[in-house]
């Protein structure tokens, strides 16, 4: 992995070049279906036959995880949930967990955010309210119930989460290597916390977005961005706000196909192993 001080963003040719840089066994942080998943890279990872990936859902996962799990790319998922939302249960995830093919490190949404926020601040852990009484704690050796040093009351400490890779899609990248994700600020948090951040983008803008006061609050600075690559409609079948919406019909089609292994394999043949859908 690149050192954290290397801040020259690499400009790559496309999603396949990003997938090449994500090694087997990597701990990869990804957003939910509503928050700019890099679906084109997910398809590239499946084509290159990635193995033993550990996925981190920030804070939950959807179709991107179900695809990778069904294709045999995943050994473990750390997440607060995996679901296809309106399209129902994530069928390949469900099957893989029930058959013991993958491990799940169950979390709860704010604990994922808290662990990443600890990493972005460079501290070893952070406290989080609530959660005490949940069976989740017994299964997590990186969560500890301890005493609040000020009040001596019980509180949960969540160990910092440091992903090897943050992977997501963006509306824009610019010539300076910055990316724009708008209000999807959990993407900023994962890029701050991760050792390397790879981003696909819809369009490239000339100049430096940080010089624009209107755009700047939605920007993630190039200091965090390891590499970017163009991928038009790179979130499809999920959406990019005000550019293209979620392809609900396709999601339903996927949810139906993935109910069986053979249906899932047919889906891969048609939408992943055939040339990248534009």
């Amino acid at each position: 992995m690149a050192g954290l001080t290397s801040n020259a963003t690499a400009f790559l040719a496309g999603p396949d070049e990003i997938a090449e840089r994500i090694p087997d066994g990597a701990f990869v942080a990804m957003p939910p279906d509503y928050s700019l998943p890099a679906m084109a890279v997910v398809r590239s990872l499946i084509r290159k036959k990635s193995r033993n990936l550990r996925l981190l859902g920030v804070p939950v996962l959807g179709m991107c995880a179900d695809l990778l799990i069904g294709a045999g790319c995943v050994a473990e998922v750390e997440t607060s949930a995996v679901s296809l939302g309106e399209a129902g249960l994530a069928p390949r995830f469900t099957e893989a967990v029930e058959s013991g093919a993958i491990k799940v490190r169950d979390a709860t949404c704010p604990a994922v955010h808290t662990g990443l926020q600890a990493s972005e601040k460079g501290v070893p852990f952070m406290p989080l309210g609530g959660v005490i009484g949940s069976s989740l704690i017994e299964r997590r050796n990186d969560w500890k119930v301890a005493r609040d040093p000020f009040t001596s009351e019980e509180i949960l400490y969540v160990k910092a989460i440091i992903p090897d890779v943050a992977l997501f899609h963006a509306r824009w990248a610019d010539e300076a290597g910055n990316v724009w994700v708008g209000r999807r600020r959990e993407l900023a948090t994962i890029s701050h916390a991760a050792r390397a951040t790879y981003v696909t983008y819809e369009e490239k803008r000339v100049g430096d977005m940080l010089e624009d006061e209107i755009l700047a609050p939605g920007v993630i600075s190039s200091v965090y961005i390891t590499a970017v690559a163009p991928a038009q409609r790179g979130a499809w079948p999920l959406g990019v706000a005000q550019v293209y919406g979620i392809d609900d019909a396709h999601l339903m089609q996927y949810a139906r196909a993935a109910r069986t292994k053979s249906g899932f394999d047919d889906y891969l043949k048609q939408f992943v192993f055939a040339s990248e859908v534009k």
């Binding site: 939910p32 509503y34 928050s35 920030v58 804070p59 939950v60 997440t79 607060s80 949930a81 995996v82 679901s83 939302g85 309106e86 249960l89 994530a90 995830f93 469900t94 967990v97 029930e98 799940v104 169950d106 979390a107 709860t108 949404c109 704010p110 604990a111 955010h113 926020q117 989080l128 309210g129 609530g130 959660v131 009484g133 949940s134 069976s135 989740l136 209000r183 999807r184 600020r185 959990e186 993407l187 900023a188 948090t189 959406g239 706000a241 919406g245 979620i246």
Partner: protein, 225 residues
């Protein structure tokens, strides 16, 4: 019966949360959302943060903002379901009878962070309402448990549900037959859940149906078309 079951459930929730000023409603929860829109249609100053919303979502700090709001006490009411719910108010969203469910989402935190957590599950059966959940996603003190058959309150000291009313003529026996945990009964003369009033039905079928159709089109079509 001149109303739909969904209308009865929404009106019952609206009565439970009438004092709330900020209600968060999770994904795939059209009935709780209907309840909040009903309160707004009655002119009550209640804010709704609808996680389902694809455009004009209320948050600008990413998905952690909901939890930060709740952690500070800025959210009064929230709703939790469960693959299993037990007599001590624990909910299980992870695994039951060898089957895997999506996961705990934010439940472990939200349950205690908001002032009123309402447990809501339409299915009322011994499969769902169990003596003891197999996995505790979240534990806490619920404000109420509402199902397709009944409304329960909560006795904090005894950590036990208290049956307040049943929705249909089956009565207490029918509720007992279909509930896997023991519960108290409020008093001898408990009766049917208060049905929606004419004014509520008018609002539900008018302005509320229109608002709900924006974010829950399938649900609105099923109930009101």
């Amino acid at each position: 019966m001149n109303f739909q079951k969904e209308e009865l459930l929404a009106c019952t929730i609206a009565r439970l949360i009438a004092e709330a000023r900020h209600v968060a409603v999770g994904a795939a929860s059209p009935i709780p959302a209907t309840a909040v829109f009903l309160l707004r249609a009655r002119g009550l100053p209640v804010r709704i943060s609808l996680l389902q919303k694809r455009s004009a979502n209320p948050f600008s700090e990413g998905s952690r903002e909901l939890f930060d709001l709740a952690g500070q006490g800025r959210i009064d009411a929230f709703f939790l379901g469960g693959a299993q719910i037990d007599g001590e108010g624990n909910v299980n969203l992870v695994e039951a009878e060898g089957r895997r469910f999506p996961g705990s989402f934010g439940s472990a935190f939200m349950y205690g962070a908001v002032k009123q957590t309402i447990l809501f599950r339409e299915e009322h059966s011994r499969r769902v309402l169990v003596p003891k959940v197999e996995f505790v996603s979240a534990a806490g003190h619920p404000a109420a448990l509402l199902t397709g058959k009944a409304l329960f309150g909560w006795n904090r000291e005894r950590r036990r549900f208290v049956l307040r009313s049943f929705h249909y003529c089956g009565g207490v026996d029918d509720v007992r037959r279909n509930t896997g945990f023991a519960f108290d009964v409020e008093n001898e003369s408990i009766s049917e859940t208060m049905p929606p009033g004419q004014e509520e039905l008018k609002l539900l079928r008018g302005p509320v149906a229109k608002q709900i159709a924006v974010d829950y089109p399938e649900f609105a079509k099923r109930v009101w078309e």
